[in-house]
């Protein structure tokens, strides 16, 4: 077990004088739910943007299943199996729910309709297939976003703050859904809801000022002094 599916070494991205991501080494093990946490501005979103290719790296390397993908553009990485769901919901508001998911189904997936409906059933939107996406409630748009991620049939699914703005009842359903994805899919999750993180994640990486502060199981992270210091020194400690 424990084979590494996604590996980053010395990943660096500076914006002017700001070291958003500064020499990060990171291993994502196949089949795990791995959470990425850290105070606001710690570089979490920049880091996953480097992994998904939305932002080009300045130095360092990224490998997916042993293959170097550092130079690949974002769309090619998606085809290799890295899916990214947006922090701010980004669906096609003027297209139907069905068409949104249909666009995500890879060309080689065979019959389109069963693939779309399977993804929609998984996120519980099958009965809304013909609705225009822009008219869905916010919670349903987040589910659609996830459904599009699933339809891509990714090896690694990156979820950027998926529960932001969801009601507490919706969060529980969401957690169950994410748990059902592994081990076929590996999940990398950015999340502020600590309760959810401790409950869902098998391993946690803490970023602070663009660097890795600690990596470990939820219990290890909870006991880590440096992590406590970073969080207590930040308004986020309570959150």
């Amino acid at each position: 077990m424990d084979s590494v599916i996604l590996q980053a070494r010395g990943l660096t991205r500076h914006f002017g004088g700001l070291r958003a991501v500064d020499g990060v080494d990171f291993d994502l093990k196949a089949g795990e739910i791995h959470a990425l946490i850290g105070p606001n501005g710690a570089g979490k979103t920049t880091f996953v943007s480097l992994l998904s290719g939305r932002i080009p790296v300045q130095s360092g390397s990224i490998a997916l299943g042993g293959e170097d993908i550092t130079a690949l553009p974002a769309h090619a990485r998606v085809r290799k199996g890295i899916a990214y769901t947006f922090q701010i919901t980004s669906v096609y508001p003027r297209l139907s729910v069905y068409d949104n998911v249909a666009l995500a189904v890879p060309p080689e997936a065979g019959e389109l309709r069963p693939a779309v409906m399977a993804a929609l059933s998984r996120v519980g939107l099958a009965d809304r297939a013909e609705q225009i996406a822009g008219t869905l409630s916010y919670g349903h748009q987040r589910l659609l976003e996830l459904g599009m991620g699933l339809a891509l049939r990714p090896r690694v699914l990156i979820l950027d703050e998926p529960t932001q703005g969801l009601a507490s009842g919706e969060v529980a359903g969401f957690a169950a859904l994410v748990r059902s994805l592994v081990p076929e899919t590996t999940v990398l999750l950015i999340e502020h809801n600590m309760e959810l993180v401790m409950d869902l994640a098998q391993r946690i990486t803490v970023l602070n000022f663009g660097q890795v502060l600690a990596t470990g199981t939820p219990a290890e992270i909870r006991a880590n002094r440096a992590v406590q210091a970073a969080y207590l020194g930040d308004d986020d400690a309570a959150a």
Binding site: H75, L95, L103, P107, L152
Partner: protein, 313 residues
């Protein structure tokens, strides 16, 4: 789904059949007008693939149209090529230039894309002027008329047959494209490019494909226009010929298959009607543009679709 597909195909074939009947029964003057409209509608249908479906607002399509005009006219005039292969050449010339322009211009987006395409078209126009001894420049070249288009047919009939065939191919190809995977991805690029990129689609290749297709249509239309009406001139590369297809598409409904035809016909008769009462035909074009963008940016068919006729493709 299947029933809906059949309905759409029947609707389009019915439009084509009606056009065919009109061409056959209308008196010569009106049939020639209709041939002109159909040829320009090929241009607009191609423009619609880029602008209406993919969201690429080009101000340089005159270049692809003129490439078609001269791609057909030069071999016919200087080497005596027969008209039908000349149309194919013109079509390829339009697509070829669209590929070149796209490779460069698609590195930009939005307003920059509009200006870059405008500049390339302007450079093309000036180049036609620069080689005025060959191209005829602003005065143009007068070519043997449609009499020689199809042996055995009268010029009017030949014109009608060619215009109809070009338009029928353009409409059906456009319908097939927009109902294909490529077509759906084109719309996805228009609606949300970043999302589409993160679904694994290369924005550059998708937009380039749309632009090249659009260029092929423009080239075919230019070639047809030159041959059917026996004239090629540098004026076909002026900005006005980039504005016209945009106007037709805006009028008929961007992102609808039949909108370009409807818009072309509506503008043609609007300008034609205005020309009977006033010489101020430019005013009609200007006012139509301003009113459309202000009050009906979705055009005729786009507004109908919004008001409930959701099946309009």
């Amino acid at each position: 789904m299947k029933a809906k597909d059949t309905k759409i195909w029947i609707a389009h074939l019915a439009v084509l059949a009606a056009l065919g009947v009109l061409l056959a029964v209308l008196p010569a003057y009106h049939a020639t007008n209709l041939a002109r409209i159909l040829t320009l509608a090929v241009f607009a249908t191609g423009y619609n693939l880029a602008f209406g479906y993919t969201g690429l607002l080009s101000l340089g399509h005159a270049l692809f149209f003129a490439a078609g005009v001269y791609g057909a006219a030069l071999p016919v005039t200087y080497w005596g090529l027969s008209p039908l292969p000349a149309i194919a050449l013109g079509c390829l010339a339009g697509g070829g230039l669209a590929t070149l322009v796209g490779l460069l211009a698609l590195r930009t987006a939005g307003v920059s894309f509009m200006i870059v395409t405008l500049m390339f078209a302007q450079a093309g126009y000036l180049t036609l002027l620069y080689f005025g001894q060959i191209t005829g420049g602003d005065e143009g070249l007068v070519m043997p008329d449609a009499t020689a288009l199809i042996p055995g047919l009268s010029p009017d009939t030949a014109r009608a047959v060619i215009a109809f065939t070009l338009f029928a191919i353009a409409l059906l190809v456009s319908l097939i494209v927009i109902r294909s995977r490529l077509g759906r991805v084109m719309v996805a690029m228009r609606e949300n490019e970043e999302r589409s990129r993160m679904l694994g689609y290369n924005p550059f290749t998708v937009k380039l494909s749309a632009l090249v297709l659009s260029g092929l249509f423009a080239g075919a239309a230019g070639a047809g226009y030159a041959l059917l009406f026996g004239y090629a001139g540098a004026s076909f590369a002026t900005i006005q010929y980039s504005i016209l297809p945009m106007l037709y598409v805006l009028m008929g409904g961007a992102g609808t298959t039949l909108g370009p035809l409807l818009g072309t016909a509506a503008m043609f008769y609007l300008v034609d009607g205005a020309a009977r009462i006033t010489t101020a035909t430019l005013l009609v074009v200007g006012v139509a543009l301003v009113l459309l963008i202000l009050f009906a940016p979705k055009g005729i068919l786009g507004t109908l679709r919004e008001r409930g006729a959701r099946w309009i493709p």
